[in-house]
Every structure is written in C-alpha cells, then in structure tokens.
C-alpha cells in the first residue's frame, strides 16, 4: 500500500468535514453532525477496549461523563476568574479528567479479564451513577451543571456562539483524536493489545504483563472518552448526571458493535448510523426496538459489524468478482426488502395499536393508509412476512454459489 492509498481515507474524511456543512446547512443538520463528531471519538475510544484489547466494558460512559462534568466546571472557573485559556483547548481538560479517573478505576478493573472485567466495569459504572445522585455539589443533582462556552477568552474573533463554529471545533478534535487513536493501533503497545485479546496466556509467557497492557489501553480509552465528554459539554452547554449512567454506556457498546469492532473504520460507521437512527425517533416511537433487533441480528449473524460486512467483499473485489455478486445480491434484495418492509409494518402497526390507540385506528405508513386493528391488515402483514421470508431463503443458495464464483481465482 503506498502513501496515497493510505492517506486517501483521511483526506476524504477531511473533505467530507469541510463540504458537508455547506450541503446540509440547516441548523438541525449541523447540530446532528456535531453529535456524530464526538460520538465518533467516544465510539473509537470504546473500541480500544472492545476491539483492540478484547475488554467488554459496561461502564465506559463513566469517563465520558466525568470528562464532561470536569469540562463544565473548568469552563465555569475559567470564565469566573478570567483565566487566559481559549475554548479550543478546553476539551483537553476533559481528556485529562478522563485519564485521571481511568487510572485508579482502571487499575482495579483491569486486574481481571473476560467476564470478570465486564462485571467490575458494570459495578464501577453503577457506583459512579449512584454517587452522581448523592454528591449534588459536583454533579448538580437533578438539574445538572450548566455552563457557557462563549464567556471564555476569545482568539481570532471566534466566539463559538454559532453552532457552525462549534462544528469545526468538534471536527478538528475528532480528526486529531481519530489520527492519534489510529497511530496508537500501529504502535508496539497497540499490537500487544491485540495479542492480549487473542491469547493472554501466551503474551504472559513472552514476558508482557497482561494487566499492565490492559491498564494502559484502559487509560488511553479513558482519555479519549474524556475528550468526547468535554466536547459534548461544550456542545450542549449542560451536563446532567444521566451521562455517567448505564444508558450511555450501553449506547456506546451498541454503537461500536453495530459499526464493527474488527476494523478502525467500524466505530465511525456505527456512530454515524446510530446518530442517523436517533433522528428516526421523530418518525417512529419504536426506534429503540429497531436498534435492539438490529443489534441482536448483528450479534447472531454478523459479529464483524457493518465494517465486517463491507470488508468481507475485499477478496472478491481484489479478484474482480464483485460483478459476479451483483446479480445474486439484486435477486436476494427483492424478497429481502419485502421482509424488511413486512417487519416494519408489523412493528409500526403494533406500536400504533398498543401505544397510540387514543389517536384512532386509522394510520399511515409508507404512503399507505389503513385501519390498524382490522383483521385484514394483520393477515396481509403476516402473509407478507411469511412469503418474503420463504422467498428470501430460496435466494440464499444463489448468493452462496455467486460467492464461490466470485472468490475463485480467474482461469488463465
């Protein structure tokens, strides 16, 4: 791989960051894109634990949240005593806070690997979440800690009042952090993390302390989670005690896993997809259910996540076999989409009957108007699901044979 192909993903990332706010220039879309920015940092930091070192944490939001709280307090102190610290440097405070908290808590939790580590991370997460409700001075109780990003020292005329300036700030940090985390995967320590994930016993024999390696990975992940939390605090200008809880910890796990833990780009895809799905919450009240189903399907059938599914095609692409796959995919896509539509109809109609029955049984979905509680509706939905599922199954052998064709080296 030459330097250009290696730099290409990064250059296209920078180009996307610069172009997208001009394409989608409405306030709402810039706000969503800002969310994606620190979501990417958070998910990438989580993948240092899960994908790179093989530690399944149920409490990663602790460092994200504490980074956010310290950033909010720091912003208030900086503004209050007029310290000469400009806003672009403030996320670093969040990062350092994440690191400072990750060091002692990480030392305890990384003593064990596997299921025990998951349990300790869950316990630590619950511990901090419970503390957040007791220590009202620091966590601000129910109301949280609010702050203002515009009242600190301004440089070069950037006030960071308009959302677009915050967008650039977030993405500058996002690109820097992503670059650093990618560089980390290439260091000897980053490689040893993979060894600890794949075969801890052997790594011990080679002479490395697996505890130490896990601990260092944990601290680095804590640092970047803190940066993400700091950026979130700057974006929202408020941090509430909910961010250290089980909710965000589970959310980052879903985000990273759905994106794919085996590739560096995976969590980035996951963060983009999850934020896009989050904006679905305006359209459907059942979006968390879709998310859960997507997650379960991924765990069962595509443990490599979205990135895994994409990169699965690399051998075929190298052998110029993608053209052979396309027809089979097209054929499978017809019943596949039908099945998807059937499931969407099932969930949406049940959601309407169960949750929104007070609004009447007439409902609209995908341009169709129908009666949600009519027996005919349910019979049609059931028929759609059964028929498309059976048809979908029949296309599998086609896809399989197309695959074996596609990865066959070309005959000379």
């Amino acid at each position: 791989m030459n330097a250009l192909t290696r730099a290409l993903p990064w250059l296209s990332g920078i180009a996307a960051v610069l172009i997208l706010p001009h394409v989608f220039s409405s306030g709402a879309s810039i706000s969503i894109m800002s969310l994606i920015g620190f979501g990417i940092i958070f998910a990438l930091s989580y993948n240092i634990l899960l994908g790179q070192t093989g530690m399944l944490s149920f409490g990663h939001a602790v460092y994200y949240g504490l980074g956010g709280f310290i950033t909010a307090h720091a912003l208030n102190i900086i503004a209050g005593s007029k310290l000469p610290i400009p806003l672009p440097l403030v996320p670093l405070i969040g990062g350092i806070a994440g690191l400072v908290f990750a060091a002692p808590l990480g030392w305890v939790s990384t003593k064990r690997a596997g299921t025990a580590f998951s349990m300790i991370s869950l316990g630590v997460g619950e511990l901090v979440a419970a503390c957040a409700l007791i220590l009202r001075g620091f966590f601000g109780g129910e109301g949280g800690i609010s702050t203002s990003r515009t009242s600190v020292l301004q440089v070069f005329g950037w006030s960071f009042g308009p959302q677009i300036q915050v967008y650039y700030l977030i993405y500058a940090w996002c690109l820097i952090c992503a670059g650093l985390m990618y560089a980390f995967t290439q260091t000897p320590l980053g490689r040893i993390c993979n060894a600890v994930r794949d075969n801890p016993e052997r790594t011990e024999f080679v002479g490395y302390s697996t505890h130490m390696v896990r601990f260092l990975a944990f601290c680095i992940a804590g640092f970047f989670a803190g940066v993400a939390g700091g950026l979130a605090a700057i974006h929202y200008e408020i941090v509430t005690s909910g961010v250290v809880g089980a909710g965000p910890s589970g959310f980052v796990l879903l985000m990273t896993f759905i994106g794919g833990t085996g590739f560096f780009i995976g969590p980035v895809l996951g963060a983009i997809l999850m934020s896009a799905m989050q904006s679905l919450s305006d359209i459907t009240g059942a979006w968390l259910l879709y998310l859960g189903i997507l997650f379960i399907l991924m765990v069962m059938f595509a443990p490599g996540g979205l990135a895994g599914l994409l990169f699965m095609h690399r051998p075929a692409a190298n052998l110029h076999g993608l053209a052979k796959l396309a027809p089979a995919y097209l054929v499978a896509a017809i019943p596949g989409l039908g099945l998807f539509a059937g499931i969407v109809f099932l969930i949406e109609t049940s959601h309407h009957v169960l949750v929104k029955s007070s609004e009447g049984m007439q409902m609209r979905l995908l341009g169709l108007e129908y009666q949600a509680d009519a027996p005919l509706t349910w019979a049609l939905i059931a028929a759609l699901i059964v028929v498309t599922f059976l048809a979908f199954r029949r296309t599998w052998p086609w896809v399989a044979s197309a695959w074996s064709e596609a990865i066959k080296p070309e005959a000379r």
Partner: protein, 316 residues
C-alpha cells in the same frame, strides 16, 4: 428500636429470598454454560407482567403457575434458537446477545404495557395484615412471598441433591463431555436448565410484582444487584448465592432504615464538619442515601480481594 430491627430483618429476609430465587437460576446457568445471562432480570420482569395480564382474566392464582411456565418456555426457545447460534462466537458474543435481549424485552414491555407502572394487585385472599407488632402491621402477602420463596429453595435443594435429575445436572456442571459420553443429551440439559432458571426468575416476578411495583424499569434496577449477588457468593455456587442474597437483602434493608451521616457520628465525638465545605455532600449523606452504593462497593472489593467469591471454587 426493637421494632425497627424485627421489621427490617423480616423485610431483608424477604428481599434476600427474592434475590435468591433469581440468583439461583443465574448461577446455575452460568456454571453450566459459562453464560452470565444479562437478561435474567428481564425474565423476572416478564414474569411479573405475564402474571399481571393473566390475573386480569382469571385471577392471581392461575397466573402464579402459568406465568413461570410460559416464561420458562420462552427462555428455552431463546436458548435453543438464539444463544446456541451465538455460542460458536465465544463468551463475549453470548454476553452481548443477552445484553441485546434485555434491551429488546424492556422496549417490548414498554410498548405493550406502557411506560408507567401497571396496577398489579395483591389477591383478595391475602389482602389482610398477618400480625401487628408495636403498632406496625406486616401484610399477609409478604408472609406468603416468604413461604413461597423458602419452599422453592427447599424444593430446588432437594431436586439438585437428592434426585437423579439433579445428579445429572450436577455432573453436567463440571464434566459436560463425560455426561455426553454416557448418553445424556447435554445441549438438551442446557436448554432445560436455561428454561428452568428463567421460570424461577418469572416466579419471583409473579410473587414480587404485586408487592413491589410492576414497571418497565424493574429489570434494569434489579439486574446489576443480581450480578453482585452471584459474584459475591462465588460464581457457580448455590450455597454462596444463598448467603450473598440474604446478606445483601439484609444490608440494603437495614441501610435504608438508618438515618445517620458521617457528620452526625463526628458530632457525637465533638468534631463539627461543615456541610458547605467541598466534600460537604459526602459528610451529610446519610447511610440511607448511600444504600444503593453499598452492593457495588462490595462487588468491587470482592473482585479485588477474593475473586472466587465467598463460596466459589474458581476465579471469576
């Protein structure tokens, strides 16, 4: 004071026995399959909701029998068609699967029964005070809960130690391959145990539902405590789970009843702590307020200093 001690002991015992109903299934499943079932508390919640739904048609008592059977059946199906598929990807994938399952069950329950608590009532037959002591009454339903959970505990113990089924299960815990060689269908045993564990959790749900609140958050609030019980007791040890359940039940119930803070203790020996100082919240927090933290503190301490738990014979 005596009143407080007696009632806290009774309530703590009750809470502990409920925890044990859940923890016993969880720890059996763990020691057999190595799966820490994240969704175990969700089956408890499903039990409560199924019991509520059945009670609306045919009353409480049929629900007490039908709901656990139904949930046990669902659990067995999930093991057969979900967990077994994921098994080949390793323990992390299994943990993730059950995590996703808990997520879906919570969303589904919210969709079907709504986000607020449902009106799951104590059956009329038991809606009277069992006894009155120092002017405080103890409801008969709580006595009933205590009786059911103790009876289940005894039945489970007999089943596991005195019957042939228990013998095979215990053998499959430690030597699944040998049990398979002897002609037993080990995957089938796994499925049965998983379903049975889920059924026990559902039973706990049906008896706890009317007394505590039946709401979508009940799984998420009990789940982590359950892990604490299983880990503190020692993974795979039923006796350990029993002791840890009772201990945590009692500790939490007594802690909630105590309204003393560090500042109060310091005041009695003549040191006055300023509530407005930096750590003021910490000094002023009463034991009742820090009660939710205690189990997790215990979990972290146990994992640090005695990773095999109280009675466990292997590392977590």
């Amino acid at each position: 004071m005596l009143e407080l001690v007696i009632f806290s002991s009774l309530n703590g015992l009750l809470y502990g026995m409920l925890l044990f109903l859940l923890a016993s299934g969880l720890t059996l499943i763990f020691s057999m399959m190595g799966v820490l079932n994240f969704a175990h508390a969700s089956f408890y919640m499903l039990g409560a909701y199924f019991g509520f739904q059945i009670s609306r048609y045919v009353g409480y008592w049929p629900g007490l029998v039908m709901a656990p059977i139904l949930v046990g059946f669902i659990g067995a199906l999930i093991e057969r068609y979900g967990l077994r598929t994921v098994h080949k990807f390793g323990h992390v994938a299994e943990l993730l699967f059950t995590f996703g399952l808990a997520f879906i069950i919570e969303e589904g329950v919210q969709m079907i029964w709504g986000k607020v608590a449902v009106d799951y009532r104590v059956p009329e037959l038991l809606n009277f005070p069992a006894f009155t002591l120092f002017e405080t009454t103890f409801p008969a339903f709580k006595m009933f809960m205590l009786v059911v959970s103790v009876a289940t505990f005894v039945a489970l113990l007999t089943l596991l130690t005195k019957t042939r089924v228990g013998l095979i299960i215990q053998a499959a815990l430690s030597h699944p391959n040998t049990v398979g060689m002897l002609g037993h269908n080990v995957p089938m045993i796994f499925m049965m145990v998983f379903g049975f564990g889920c059924g026990l959790a559902a039973l706990a749900g049906v008896i706890a539902g009317p007394a505590l609140v039946t709401q979508p958050a009940m799984a998420a609030s009990l789940g982590p405590i359950l892990f604490v019980v299983v880990v503190v007791g020692g993974l795979g040890s039923l006796a350990g789970a029993f002791i840890a359940s009772l201990a945590i039940g009692l500790i939490q119930t007594f802690a909630v009843a105590m309204n003393i803070s560090i500042a109060d203790v310091m005041a009695t020996i003549g040191i006055k702590l300023d509530p407005n100082s930096f750590a003021g919240d910490l000094w002023m927090a009463t034991i009742a307020q820090v009660a939710p933290i205690i189990p997790y503190l215990l979990l972290v301490l146990v994992l640090m200093f005695r990773p095999q738990g109280l009675m466990g014979n292997r590392d977590t």
